[in-house]
């Protein structure tokens, strides 16, 4: 799936649809979300009034744990855990996390790629291995919610229903109570995108 391989804004108000399309492009560019969205369908009817936003996502790498880039070991005869980094990319983030968790006085870095944590090794080795250092997906999803809920959906549409997962996002918003048929329509729009042939070009 390419980035924004489908980008449709449907509305009975054609001028409105055109400006909404530009608005979505601007917002996605501002928050660098272009690469995150694979397919996108929006339906707006200001008369009803309803705003439906559905998208299929293509998120990047899942969360990064310590074991993905370092070797965590016991130090024989000492109350210490030794972390040997294989890649330095996450060193700064890892140190910050360790300081927060064990306190600065318990962390030593005798070498560029070696970090010593003064703690009970038996209890902590497994926990350290599983420690999450970076969550690119979560960070992208936060930005996506910012874009959709706070910038794209018209402000007056305060009654909202949303569905959010790592594969898709669905927002239905209105000024009045949501009608079940709008939510059904949103789900249909999402399904129709799921089964689109990849590589097929479609534009509004």
């Amino acid at each position: 799936m390419e980035q924004l391989e489908t980008f449709v804004v449907e509305s009975p108000d054609t001028v409105g649809a055109k400006s909404t399309r530009i608005l979505i492009q601007d917002t996605l560019a501002d928050l660098s979300l272009n690469r995150v969205i694979g397919r996108l369908k929006v339906f707006v009817d200001p008369v009803q009034p309803v705003f439906i936003f559905t998208a299929i996502l293509r998120l990047g790498t899942p969360s990064v744990k310590v074991k993905d880039f370092a070797k965590v070991d016991f130090v024989i005869g000492k109350e210490e855990v030794k972390i040997e980094l294989q890649r330095e990319t996450y060193a700064v983030k890892l140190l910050n996390k360790l300081w927060e968790r064990y306190g600065k006085e318990n962390i030593e870095q005798p070498d560029r790629k070696v970090i010593i944590v003064k703690t009970d090794p038996v209890k902590e080795v497994d926990a350290l291995n599983e420690l999450v250092i970076d969550e690119p997906q979560q960070e992208v999803l936060d930005r996506l919610i910012d874009a959709i809920a706070l910038r794209i959906i018209p402000e007056g549409f305060r009654v909202r229903k949303h569905e959010l997962s790592t594969s898709h996002v669905l927002f239905v918003a209105s000024e009045d109570t949501l009608k079940p048929e709008w939510i059904a329509k949103a789900k249909d729009m999402l399904e129709s995108m799921r089964f689109e042939n990849s590589g097929e070009e479609e534009n509004a």
Partner: protein
Amino acid sequence: MLEPVKYVGGVYKHNHLVELVEDLGGYILQKNVMQTEVVLLMLVPINDMPVVEAKAKELLGKLTRAPLTGTEIATVAPTLAYHHLPHLDCDVAEFLRQHGAKTNMVGLARGVGKRICQITAYERDLINEHDLAVFILGNYEHCIIEKSKRLYEGIEIPIVVTGAPELKTEDVPNATAYVGNFGRILHHMRHSEELRTLDKLAEVIGKVLDNVRVELAKDPPSVAPPRIKKEIEEQIPDIINSLHPLPIALQMNGARVKLPYEEYHEQIENIKFVEGVTMKEVARVLPSKMRNFILIKALPKSETGFVI
């Protein structure tokens, strides 16, 4: 008759132009020095324009007509959220500023939605203190029309509405004028067609204000607003200490003075004109809704029986 003009040129010798305009009986309304450049907003007697033009040419500066000079305009957004700021609202406000207007940005507390939008009494009074209000609305025709039916309740000044669809002014209820091609834009307006849209807005506002001027001329204010400004500057030295941008903001039939009302209103009321009248005889000095500023509204000739 005074002509509103803007001069852009070098700082060197610009005081020659200032003195010339003052000698001719015109007024310098605003002077902005930006490093080596100076921008002057002034009112020049129309018959003396050729003299001023010649002087500007001699100083290698540029003189342009700025029809919005001496007016205070409120640019109103439904809220102060990402939906409207910073781009569109600031672009509009800044553009009107370049044409000589003093713009104030107003964000309503509950201005969102077509059914649920509201305006509070305070917001309404604050907007009514201006010469004109620009309401910056969104993308959908239906919403703009529905919203216009209720949002401008109680606003007595001319209302210019902007939005995406091309509508006729008659179709937008309660609006004095409507300008299309705006809508909810989330990028800086800098493409040529967008700048043309902004030009159109300035032109429409200029026309609306010209109509107001014609109405005003039928029963002219007893004292001209630039005169109020000049007398305050000469008789109330504390105005120099006011650090607000434009300590005396001119309006079409008055001025906003950025000094605390409680301390200064009596001094202002007792300002003497050489014609032998005091300020309170020719204008009402009122507390402004904006902070604790002072709002001066000139009385019309029909009430005082004379014009100074």
